[in-house]
Amino acid sequence: MNSVGEACTELKREYDQCFNRWFAEKFLKGDRSGDPCTDSFRKYQRCVQKAIRDKDIPIDGVDFMGPSKDKPES
């Protein structure tokens, strides 16, 4: 899958590979022995956050799980 930053796709792939392995083999099994992906994540984030700024994608200003406030039913 491509990244929104064309130059970041390779960094994304590297990070995804690391994450998927850690997620299935450590995280889900309750192993808290630390995250082997911090390096690849940092490189990927540096690239993708710049691409988001360059493309003016409006990601700021929403809290995590933000919209989940009053839920009117209709």
């Binding site: 995804d16 998927n20 808290r32 993708v48």
Partner: protein, 210 residues
Amino acid sequence: MVKYFCCAGLLKSSWDQVCVAFWQRYPNPYSNHVLTEDIIFREVTPTNCLISRRLLTKTSRAPHWMERYLPKQMSSSAYIIEDSIVDPEKKTMTTLTWNISHARLMSVEERCEYRINPENGSWTEIKREAWISSTVYGLTRAIQEFGLARFKTSVTKTMKGFEYVLAKMQGETPSRTLAETATERARETALAAKEKAKDLASHAQKKQYV
């Protein structure tokens, strides 16, 4: 005024496998409208939950009658954010997905909860809720109907996409016929919805001239 929708889904795979598949579901044969996918935030909380934010860009497929209400400069891609919390101890995953572009035209928020199926511990149930709203004067109902119909179609695609990815992960060859049937059904639903929404839109327009 908001249109609310709720449904339940079932995946015949374990909660663990579903969570693993959740991060690997793109691309799949049902996700051609998803152009890019990026994790833009991720952390393990002090209580050992994984929280993530994912940014997706999707093709913006507004029907012809809606297009005239879009400003000319509006991008042809839609941006969507998906926040998620995975709790590996409680075996629950909660996701919240909403569009950050085109929101005044139509806003769709979806909240899902993935849990172990209480009747079968090796299956996963998904509770899905959506809130669809629009603030375009005179067309709110038509747009909400369109949004709801398209949402239902996309739920079918989402589930088929999940099943496809899970089958691949488990070493099975996913059935091509399943894919074709789902596409056909999705097309029919979309067509019916298009007709209904067009109808509502033309009623709304007629009212304006009376």
